[in-house]
């Protein structure tokens, strides 16, 4: 089995040799890809620390102003983070970690009080209405849990994905979002969650009970978010595992970039996050359903795909990280295809921009999902169709870059094809 692979590699080396004078090298493209990852995660960390400071202020001195300040910090923190999502698929190290910080959707009754319309435990999730904030002691999967101290360890190691149920999201952006905004009870009408600041007030001012435990939960979840982001940022720094992995094999690395772009575009964003909510007319299918920030989540996910392809990222302080890009490799292999894909990525941003501007002008994302909302359906489907369309061109890019030996390498069955029959 070695010989054909060597032939393939030799042919690739020849191809690379003929194009080297005109195009960026794969190694340069991968280095820039890793640099952008590092900048995006570092920006996520910086903005999460600002959120942490705002949460500390809210818990220390609960007030309407401090709750608003924390909400604003959360919204700002989402801008760089959503742009990292394109790194998720393809980079196993990111995908394995991601559930801690951005898991969604969640059965929020696990965490805190909910409206009666929420219901209780379900077939899928026995802990759907556990309410950890109100209960210092409870049993989980038949085990007694002492939750008198709400710590990052309790959230991360005991509660998160408790009972093996993915909807038990105890940590990350969306748990924090719920604690800041509360449930959105407006259905497909305009309006986000409307948690009162007094849910964090001391003494008799406290509403809905257990304000100290609610504050402790919010602080623990935010501290955990910061430490999780510190970890992933380090993985992309010099000598970090994520960077090393991407740089260790050029073809596999380029495949990783394309896999992230294609999987996020199609299966995840166009399908799971956009089309599904529309087909179900269900505002619970909004990605940022408590804060009504879904239009931004979609927009910055799309932007992340585009800036990875073009190799250029604008940081939260305005600095630009840029360098040789996947676009350069595609340009060298097939200039028409590069123009096609670049154009489609721009179209997607225009379509996602329409959703964002309409939402910011008052036609919120949950309204777009309402049954019979033709304008809303057209806006959302405009984004979906553009994302699906760009995926076709991403598949074409995979084909013209001739990375096919990658998928075969690394398979257990390669050296022993008969193994699969055993």
């Amino acid at each position: 089995m070695k010989t054909p692979l060597l032939t393939g590699a030799a042919l690739l080396a020849l191809t690379a040799g003929t194009t080297a004078a005109f195009a960026a090298s794969k190694a340069e493209v991968l280095t820039n890809y890793a640099n952008i990852a590092e900048a995006k995660y570092e920006d996520s960390l910086i903005t999460a620390k600002a959120l942490q400071a705002a949460v500390d202020a809210l818990v220390a001195e609960p007030s309407a102003e401090n709750l608003e300040a924390a909400k604003h910090a959360w919204l700002a923190a989402r801008v760089p983070y959503q742009q990292t999502e394109v790194y998720r698929f393809g980079n196993a190290i990111v995908d394995d970690w991601e559930g801690k910080v951005n898991a969604w959707p969640l059965d929020e009754g696990l965490i805190d009080y909910v409206d009666a319309s929420y219901g209780g435990a379900t077939d899928e999730n026995a802990a759907a209405a556990l309410n950890v904030i109100a209960n210092p002691e409870f049993s989980l999967s038949g085990k007694a849990i002492d939750a008198s101290d709400i710590t990052p360890e309790l959230l991360g190691e005991t509660l998160h994905e408790a009972d093996g149920v993915e909807a038990n999201v105890a940590t990350g952006y969306h748990a924090i979002e719920f604690l800041l905004w509360g449930q959105d009870l407006n259905g497909t009408e305009h309006g986000a969650g409307d948690r009162a600041w007094t849910d964090y007030a001391a003494g008799d001012d406290c509403t809905n009970g257990n304000c100290d435990r609610r504050g402790a939960y919010l602080k623990a979840a935010t501290d955990l978010l910061v430490s999780d982001l510190e970890w992933i940022t380090a993985q992309w720094a010099e000598d970090g595992e994520a960077r090393e992995t991407v740089l260790s094999d050029e073809n596999a690395g380029i495949t990783t970039i394309l896999t992230g772009m294609g999987s996020l575009s199609y299966g995840e964003q166009a399908g799971e996050r956009m089309r599904l909510g529309l087909m179900l007319n269900d505002p619970e299918e909004e990605h940022d359903c408590f804060s009504d920030n879904t239009h931004n989540s979609h927009y910055y996910d799309g932007l992340g795909i585009q800036n990875v392809y073009l190799g250029e990222y604008v940081r939260v302080n305005g600095e630009v990280v840029s360098g040789p890009a996947l676009a350069d490799l595609v340009e060298a292999a097939d200039a028409e295809l590069n123009a096609e894909l670049t154009g489609k990525l721009s179209t997607t941003m225009m379509k996602l921009g329409r959703i964002k501007t309409a939402a910011e002008a008052g036609f919120s994302y949950d309204q777009m999902l309402a049954q019979g909302s033709e304008a809303g359906e057209a806006l959302v489907m405009g984004g979906v169709d553009a994302l699906v369309d760009q995926t076709r061109s991403i598949e074409r890019a995979v084909a013209v870059l001739d990375l096919s030996d990658v998928a075969i390498e690394g398979s257990d069955s390669l050296d022993n094809p008969t193994a699969v029959f055993q």
Binding site: S265, D282, A399, A407, S411
Partner: protein
């Protein structure tokens, strides 16, 4: 134009020309022998079901349930063809909204029945309803879960059955019509949607992979859960006892597609036949547990795990032998997300 690039484009043209005859034959074979007959059957069965409900639409009627089951069989055989006409206007989702990992169907159906929602009164209105209350899976709750039997009057339940049956028939007919009138042509003679025979082949190859993923990861994988946490309640169509039947029907359909794609390669066809035969034998071993209630019992669980390994073995052959033979990549599909 440089000499080098002119040489390259000539070479490409030659490759395209020589590839053409075989490519057309392969695409034609899959379209004529697999896709069109599969959708013809779906359109016929759903139309028969809809016609029956004009005179008999009680959820308890054996005739209704049988017609529903026959139409459902036809859908399972088509459930891997998730591209083109089945995706337009969300038709496939409206026909079959599954998996339902957030229990949307029971919630939405309950609401519909309790409100006696007039959305079922006209096909136009029903076409705007949530996909969670449309299609085969909503009817399974209505037919086989006693919790839904008395939520609405018999007349209203009857109206729901009629509305779903009509909607199924319309969507299935629309898929078939699109295939017959335009989509088959797009695959046979690549132009805009598909630029080359290779892209057409890739779409067909992706359909096989999608089917194997639905089979291995969802139809089998969801009830398996983990050893410590098996999930018998997540078995597809467990209420009607059809879970195993769906595996067998999908295996049959995917075998047909895989053999057509192997296109006369005797060795590859033989390998595929071996693994599909083996999977069929292992499926037959599950005959006394047709809804996979036994996944919590290590002895029974082992049988389903074995079948899952068979499906993965087929997927390996597709990736290692079939894809390279067709010269196509696995590409992206709708299951790529979480």
């Amino acid at each position: 134009m440089s000499v080098l690039s002119r040489l390259t484009s000539t070479a490409c043209a030659l490759v395209a020309l020589t590839g053409l005859a075989r490519a057309d034959a392969l695409t034609d074979a899959v379209v004529d022998q697999h896709i069109l007959p599969t959708y013809e059957r779906l359109a016929t069965e759903t139309a028969e079901f809809a016609t029956l409900t004009e005179s008999d639409c009680a959820p308890t009627s054996e005739a209704v349930r049988t017609a529903w089951g026959e139409a459902f069989d036809a859908w399972v055989a088509a459930s891997h063809l998730r591209f083109g006409p089945s995706e337009a206007d969300n038709r496939a989702f409206a026909i079959a909204f599954w998996p339902d990992s957030r229990s949307k169907t029971p919630k939405a159906l309950r609401g519909l029945l309790l409100d006696s929602d007039p959305v079922v009164n006209t096909p136009e209105d029903f076409a705007t309803a949530s996909v969670a209350v449309r299609g085969f899976y909503a009817l399974e709750y209505l037919f086989y879960d006693p919790a839904y039997a008395d939520l609405a009057s018999p007349d209203y339940a009857c109206a729901v059955v009629k509305a779903v049956a009509q909607d199924l028939s319309q969507n299935s007919a629309a898929i078939l019509t699109d295939w017959q009138e335009e989509y088959a042509e797009k695959l046979r003679h690549p132009d805009e949607r598909y630029r080359s025979d290779e892209e057409a082949h890739q779409e067909l190859f992706k359909a096989l992979n999608t089917g194997l993923e639905i089979l291995g990861d969802m139809r089998i994988g969801r009830p398996l859960g983990t050893f410590d946490n098996p999930r018998p309640n997540r078995a597809e169509v467990r209420r009607s006892g059809r879970s195993l039947r769906h595996l067998e029907l999908q295996l049959d359909s995917l075998r047909q597609l895989a053999l057509l794609l192997s296109d006369g390669d005797a060795e590859l066809s033989q390998h595929l036949t071996q693994v599909f035969d083996k999977a069929d034998r292992h499926a037959a071993n599950l005959a006394d547990d047709p809804s996979f209630a036994g996944v919590s019992d290590p002895q029974h669980r082992f049988l389903l795990e074995t079948l899952q390994q068979d499906v993965r073995a087929i997927k390996d052959i597709a990736a290692l032998d079939l894809g390279p033979r067709l010269g196509v990549e696995a590409g992206f599909n709708a299951l790529d997300g979480d």
